[in-house]
């Protein structure tokens, strides 16, 4: 039974698993596996499981349901602080303009980004992306898979479109709070 096998694979993998890798393990077509994933996703919701299946950071991964966060918090101590506003602003600029150099980020923010970049690199939310072929050969930066995972999205295309003069409302990250119901795929997926 494909769904049960998928459940096993997703249970043992400690990270998002790409559809291609799941299909290879199951020796079946990606389209078939995707149908089974959606069905497993719906099944978990129906039987009131504490787990849900998410499409996140370019793959599929089992996660706890948000309503049990409090219970989990009583068992485990939470590590890792939230990002500062400076880090968020810088990360937003990198996400939309990658690959981008520090001076380019500073031109947008109007303040230096040195220490913020260090934090973001340490948290593996960004990575070096080669040097730009301009004077001084400054290092360029790009977002990582961990970045997608940190914000609970599957791919960069899910970032809100940049709008001038309008503060965009916060749309929900796909599938994270939808009770596992599939959302329409982004146009280019």
């Amino acid at each position: 039974m494909t769904e049960a096998a998928l459940e096993c694979l997703l249970f043992i993998a400690g990270e998002p698993v790409a559809l291609a890798d799941l299909a290879r393990a199951l020796q079946s077509e990606e389209a078939e596996v995707e149908v089974a994933l959606r069905s497993l996703q719906a099944g978990l919701t129906e039987r009131g499981s504490g787990l849900q299946l998410l499409r996140i950071a370019g793959g599929w991964q089992l996660a706890t349901r948000p309503e049990y966060a409090e219970v989990i918090g009583r068992l485990l101590t939470r590590g890792g602080s939230k990002l500062s506003r400076a880090a968020m602003e810088t990360l937003a600029i990198i996400a939309y303009r990658q690959p981008i150099t520090a001076p380019e980020m500073e031109a947008v923010r109007g303040v230096s980004v040195g220490s913020v970049l260090k934090t973001l690199l340490e948290r593996k939310l960004i990575a070096e992306a080669g040097r730009k072929a301009t004077l001084g050969r400054p290092m360029q930066y790009e977002t990582t898979t961990d970045f997608l995972h940190y914000f609970g999205i599957a791919e960069l295309a899910q970032l809100p479109t940049l709008e001038a003069d309008a503060v965009p409302a916060a749309p929900v990250p796909a599938e994270v709070i939808t009770d596992g119901r599939p959302l329409p795929e982004p146009p280019d997926a």
């Binding site: 948000p66 947008v108 109007g110 914000f151 929900v172 990250p173």
Partner: protein, 270 residues
Amino acid sequence: MNALTSASPETTAGRPPGPPAPQFHIPNFEGPLDLLLHLIRAHEVEISDIPIAEITQQYLAYMEMWEALDLTIAGEYVVIAATLIEIKSRMLLPQAPAVVGEDGEEEDPRAELVARLREYQIYKGTVETLRAWEELRRELFFRGALENADDYILPVPAGEANVQQLFQALNRLLAEAGVEDKPITSVTPRRRLSLRMKMAEIVRKLTHAGPEGMGFESLFVLPCPRYDIVLTFLALLELLRMQRVRADQTKLLEPIKVTLIPELQEGSPR
């Protein structure tokens, strides 16, 4: 920028006991552009329509307040202050001939600052979304990678080959070349072959191969001395670093394919 987020100790220390100290609310700004946006919003005007005299005055008032509180003022604030004063003085000279643009139309001295503020505001707008996502995502928990799971190694995600995969491929080659069974007394002559020459050779080979590219292993002409293998590998790494070539592996354990990246035009988008 962090200097602005906390009041100096002098404002709180040594206060006599008694009624609670008056609370100063020092808004926390992420830099001069953030402060400017805050002031403009307080005026309820469009960014393009900055009342420059008032805004400049208020901006400088903030700087004075920080100074009075003994806070360090970051250099970036001073730069924008100077820009504001310059714009203000240019706007006081309505007939100045210098403010006529190339197309003959009058140029708003505020234009450049307005463009910067707009761009900054656009990115600032997305922070709220990211913050909301961060909040939601922090309610979810995932299994970590298995500990003590030496029995299993997770597959490398399909797609671009990474350094480890290349390294494994190199080790396979070195083993095949059988370079280890030379007598210990053998002399390896110094070869007159530089990394640069090797890189040029690889690029030439790949150019010849076209968009199909070449297998990683066919870049090495075996049998050859270990020196050549290492040099070829180094040249390949250097080319990868320079983003002149790319290495792809479509499936696990399949041959790594090396292709030449067409030279990008300088300044082309993305």
